[in-house]
Subunit: 568 residues, 2 copies
């Protein structure tokens, strides 16, 4: 029997400590709280729920999937009960604002729970994560009546949320969104088709709050014409509730996250789905950008959770499975085989590097939003968030794909069989590089916007990384390569700045290898900051992972020429 | 609608030409035939069958899978008819010996068809591939009555084969195989349990020929006690045929290759499954080693086919899918986006490098087995086969995982949905690094046996690679790095030879990164040999793929110390 997911609390606490104290910001006041005993108790509660409730639903949810019946979408067995437990324990409200019923706890604490939910059951974890985004959009951009009507119920989890952005012709490029919103009284009537809507419909709650990107009749073409609407699944009515004019018409059958219903939705089959404008007209994309950081860091945290789960499963299997014999003829557990150790160590150091980076982004968000933060520090923290967000989203999700693949390999043939959770983790992990903005979109954001346009953030990051290298004991295996990678990154970006009109072309061609380069170096930075008792892991990272930086750097140096020139 | 698989005949012909003429052996006489018109017609026939029959069964076979009913295993819809067509057209007999009804064609020709079947439908392709191994074992080790009774029917495809080696406790380590064979008359009665038996039972044929590893009562422990038996599913009887005492008791539900029934078999529930010894008693593993090269190169060829199919699907999708706009506001197909071009070019050059290496191994086998080959050349060809086999199996299967993952990424969210064949290819590809000896086992064979014990082959290979670099036009982007990688490989292996008693420990720790290193360099070698009109692809390989060699080399240089020392 496979042991259920166990939250790695010691590593989580170490990553929180590192993110709060060693990333170059004075810890926000609320971070002292995160590092204290109350938070430890919170994490223990999350670990219990993950182990006892969410993890046991992971395999069964994958096997059964969500089903579309005549009456709507039915979630996999146990998910409705799991969601009730989740809400009853107050988890949806953890980091939500106190004025709307939330607990107002720091993101650095919520980050750990997000990782934990993702590791225990990613399909489930996607549901509360969507609400986090919706709450933030509504809090910042919603008008008072909308906030009063919806925020308390989103915060309590009574009404989950869904993001209805994508359309068949509009995926990475939202400029072609066609869903139409016509004004009617104080509201709007929406009609159109949306696809890839995670948890777009289900039987876990009485209502679902959709955020829908649509176009008003007077809208200019392109992304500047998009407005954001709140469209509830059910509408208040004299005698209770009536269904709004939107429904799931089909579910995707997917490679992974199968218990999360991915809906194709139709709005306005009977005249129009009633919705309310969030924020100003034609500012829909700007409103969504408010939560982009949250949601992308969320993918990084979920990916970290998946990698952690892959690691646990592989360790557990390797400790039990016996193949080959030692010098005395006794059968050896494969965890003693050098190549299995190599794979497990790779999984360890990649996973924890992703965790520390993602927590670092969450901590910087706390600093940026902290009530007591000075303007100068706030600006610096926002720059850091801007840089780390695409890096965390992309590098952690790529890392989860790699780590989960190593997990399959440790299991051998067993890892290829559906009964084995390692095979599910491998399938679940593959969505990470694709959704919430593909990893190329992250890379372009990182290099084209966050580094080229906003110079200071990258200079500060390099400085932090160099300080971490300098603070290592002399001769530590990470020291010299981390230093020289920082120098190489700085030099190459300077060269790119001097490229003039060719800049855009170069960014488009090698943004992704550049992100891989910075990612592996940032991982080294996190290991340089890690506690001395983890020095052996840091050394493994230096010897087995960081050398990849040279390969990425060489590819980046090749620029755009060959990509433009070679025939496909 | 997704276009069906199209065999890439021009690239296949180029790879055959390269393998026959440019790998440092005088072409075997039969290779002239491979490069001629008759063979071209054979390949066109294979391409037709793949496109019209096998490829259309790939998605439906995955969706439906094989089923275990009370009456036995039922293959997915259309597979039985597909197998009849496959046999009627003579494909099982292509490279089989003429004296047993085969067409005796060179492996370099069969290699192309193996790639084609794998690309069109891997689950199907595994069936004839198993027969190739069984035919070879029986031809070399079987006694006359066994050969007469079984070879003609294996060769015609009337009776497919299955390899029954693995047991629950005996996967990578066959020393613990427990299946027992007791003598009875001229035959043996076998009892035990086998798992992971591909196509172990099905309704495509009247009989199935199992090769079973088992232990005789007098057997010494360990692998030296294993004997190989032929155990048919049905036995001849006075009135026709009766069932032998073995049956599939369950099917694995797997991540991929779902239309290939992976059976758990029980032998001897009713006293014993009747079988006949192949080769000498206690020589079972040696008999199996006879076909290891064939079967492992087969995995490399199938992996090449999968990578090719991933590439085709991604190209097709990218040419159709529109996102973003050009300078004039027109929507652009994503194939014009630089990052999509980067991914497609990576898929191109990795796939074709794997193809050329695999064909090179097949061509060397032809030379080794060629009737007219001089003893000196034969020995050299066998050394080359020995080196290339584990490299091809492991590097091509890892490459298929990478290329199929790029394929998913090019498709975006669409690539995560079951309807999309790209998502199936990603799942199918993940078996490659696991079965037929895990990729670590390949790496250990490569470095520990083929390089350290048999010195000449590696020296010859490095010489060939250096000659290829030297023959490039001066300044060709591959030239300098290929040369310096060869020098670095030579130097490191010399150092390893001097490591004395620590050699074994080092091999165990870094054999896999070493294989990755040699693999990426050998891929560069193949691109150095490619025709001048592919120079842009070779350049892309030099700039985007070959730099990985530096990362692998650095990891290899780290040796075994940190792996032995770091805590898990």
């Amino acid at each position: 029997m496979t042991a259920p997911y166990e939250a790695p609390l010691a590593l989580i606490r170490a990553a929180q400590e590192q993110a709060a104290r060693r990333l170059g910001f004075a810890p926000a006041a609320e971070h002292e709280e995160v590092l204290g005993d109350t938070s430890a108790a919170v994490l223990e509660g999350a670990a219990r729920l993950a182990r006892d409730v969410l993890s046991p639903l992971n395999r069964s949810g994958d096997a059964q999937g969500a089903q579309l019946s005549a009456g709507g979408v039915i979630a996999a067995r146990g998910f409705a009960e799991g969601w009730r437990r989740f809400c009853a324990d107050g988890w949806p409200s953890l980091a939500a604002p106190a004025e709307w019923g939330g607990q107002g706890l720091p993101l650095l604490l919520a980050a750990a729970t997000t990782e934990i939910w993702g590791g225990a059951n990613l399909a489930f974890a996607m549901l509360p994560e969507t609400a986090v985004g919706a709450i933030e959009v509504l809090r910042v951009h919603g008008d008072e009546p909308l906030r009063s009507a919806y925020l308390p119920r989103l915060v309590s989890g009574e009404w989950p949320a869904a993001m209805s952005l994508t359309e068949p012709q509009a995926g990475s490029d939202l400029s072609t969104v066609r869903t139409l919103a016509r004004p009617e009284g104080d509201a709007w009537l929406l009609s159109g088709r949306k696809i890839f809507i995670s948890w777009g419909e289900h039987d876990l709650a009485e209502n679902i709050v959709h955020l829908v990107l649509a176009r008003t009749p007077d809208a200019p073409p392109g992304v500047r014409g998009l407005s954001l609407f709140l469209v509830p699944r059910r509408l208040p009515h004299a005698d209770g509730w009536i269904a709004n004019d939107l429904r799931a018409v089909s579910l995707e059958h997917k490679m992974g996250i199968r218990a999360s219903p991915t809906c194709a939705m139709v709005l306005g089959e009977a005249g129009g789905a009633r919705g309310w404008l969030i924020g100003a007209r034609h500012q829909g994309l700007a409103c969504m950008f408010t939560v982009m950081n949250h949601m992308r860091i969320g993918v990084g945290l979920h990916s970290t959770g998946l990698a952690e789960r892959a690691r646990q499963l592989a360790h557990g299997y390797a400790a039990e499975r016996r193949q080959g014999r030692d010098a005395h003829g006794a059968q050896r557990p494969i965890i003693e085989h050098a190549d299995v150790r190599r794979m497990l160590l790779s999984m360890n150091v990649l996973t924890h590097a992703a965790r520390c980076l993602a927590y670092g982004a969450a901590a910087a968000l706390d600093v940026a939003h902290g009530a007591g933060t000075q303007p100068h520090t706030r600006a610096r923290a926002l720059r850091r968030v801007g840089l780390l967000t695409p890096l965390v989203k992309a590098w952690a999700s790529d890392t989860a794909v790699e780590v989960s693949s190593l997990g399959v390999q440790v299991h051998g043939g067993t890892g290829y069989v559906d009964d084995c959770e390692a095979s599910q983790i491998y399938r679940d992990a593959r969505i990470g590089p694709v959704f919430e903005g593909t990893n190329f979109i992250q890379a372009q954001d990182l290099l084209g916007r966050k580094i080229l346009r906003e110079e200071a953030g990258f200079a500060e990051l390099l400085e932090q990384m160099e300080q971490a290298a300098a603070a290592l004991p002399p001769g530590a295996p990470l020291q010299a390569p981390l230093r020289s990678e920082c120098a190489a990154l700085r030099a190459w970006v300077q060269q790119l700045r001097a490229a003039g009109t060719r800049q855009g072309e170069i960014v488009a061609a090698i943004a992704y290898p550049f992100l891989q380069w910075l990612g592996v170096v940032a991982g080294a930075w996190q290991w340089a900051l890690a506690a001395p008792e983890l020095a052996d892991q840091a050394e493994f990272y230096a010897l087995h992972i960081l050398p990849r930086a040279r390969a990425h750097a060489a590819t980046v140096a090749a620029g755009s020429d060959i990509i433009g020139r070679a025939r496909l």
